[in-house]
Subunit: 226 residues, 2 copies
DNA sequence: CAAATATAATAGTATTACTATCAATTTAGG
DNA sequence: CCTAAATTGATAGTAATACTATTATATTTG
């Protein structure tokens, strides 16, 4: 009997020592994600995580420079994983609009834990990234981190979606802006529905979120400039 | 000769003691904003601000519980001020689409320092809020803060824009989501253009940003469900 | 089995995020 | 103008955060 395994890779600027290379590293990822989901980035500390995994702060610091790098690691892991999902959902589909529809579905649906990746619970990861991802780039260190490749996986997904949009309308002037607007909105609208309902319109049902964003996207692409 | 003064009010849950009620309070606002724009929220501390205004931490704590409350104060100030601007830009305009166009212009243009408000530099405020506003709501304390009215001024602006959108298309299902998507995108696309250009398409020119968002908005409203 | 490497345990530092106390100063009311 | 009340400044202190350093003990690898 064969067990399917999915290896997600992120750049080596996102860690000091590769956490997937050891048992304790994987434990840091697994329980770090759980702790983040429980208390949020502001309250999250390496000391609390060390206590949780019965280890020490210094051990965690050997894997990640600080919690911001840890978050950025998860951020890239999420988009690397999404990239795989999007690629899978769109292979062998010839029609561009159908490809875009499938992409939007992948983006807006709630994900389930992918059992091919043993130490990362993707359902939890999506929750955490929804709430915290903006904090990866909204900082004064953004330029430095951008140079270090902190956003590469995200850019890869953006490129992939942009190219499908340009198949639908090669003259559209703002494909990258449209993609990031949609991706961010996808995170935030669901969050708003749960916490700030007046900032949204009941997006806890993923089909409504999909409908909202797909509509936005297709209308913009098809009617641009008219 | 008369000097025009514009009084912007925020709720009393956003401060311990009203900073506009004293000279030192105004100095906290003025130089707090400057310091925030210089070093960002993560590096910002009341100790550094106290040094800057030749006062003490304890004095600042008498005005604001912590830096998060200070940021939320500025966030509400910004939206209260934007509400005034939007109201002004749309009075006596009968045509709904023209009203929406004017709103989009107000939102996407770079603002100048409003000289009617002596201690707040609105141009700086816009920069700061662009970068930091998401942090006001992306926190585990959001429900509690929502109850305390931390987002009231923002909701007021959303309501105002929603009602114009519904004039254009009363059947549109996601007006609130569309408004927040546009408002957030407006902040982030300009930021991306400056720092993560691959996530956007040269939005440093406000006219392009306006064009992008207006197009998005009108196409979505006019072609919804088709 | 030895050498190299990783981890745990412990200690320590500077800074953050506050709270408390009290004297000096400013302001407001009569 | 004087007194009482409120505000601010100066100082101190605490617990937690965000690290760095050292060394002994495991564990892994060749």
């Amino acid at each position: 009997m064969q067990k399917a395994v999915l290896q997600i890779q992120v750049q080596d600027t996102l860690f000091v020592k590769d956490p997937t290379s050891s048992t304790i590293g994987k434990s840091i990822l697994e329980h770090g994600l759980i702790l983040l989901s429980e208390i949020g980035l502001e309250e999250f500390t390496f000391k609390k995580l060390a206590r949780k995994i019965s280890s020490t702060e210094s051990t965690i610091y050997r894997y990640f420079e600080n919690k911001h790098q840890f978050l950025s690691y998860l951020f890239n892991y999420y988009w690397a994983w999404m990239d795989v999902n999007i690629a899978f959902a769109t292979t062998n589909i010839d029609d561009s609009e159908e490809r875009l529809r499938r992409i939007m579905r992948v983006i807006t649906q709630k994900v389930d834990n992918d059992l091919r990746t043993p130490f990362i619970d993707e359902a939890l990861l999506q929750e955490v990234i929804s709430l915290e991802s903006s904090k990866t780039f909204l900082s004064k260190k953004v330029d430095e981190e951008n140079k270090a490749g902190y956003f590469l996986q995200y850019k890869k997904v953006i490129d992939r979606i942009v190219s499908v949009m340009l198949e639908l309308n090669p003259d559209y002037s703002y494909p990258n802006a449209l993609v990031t607007t949609i991706l961010e909105s996808s995170f935030h609208q669901r969050y708003f529905s749960n916490h700030l309902p007046k900032l949204s319109n009941s997006m806890d049902n993923p089909n409504r979120l999909e409908n909202f964003l797909l509509d936005l996207c297709l209308n913009t692409l098809y009617h641009h400039g008219k």
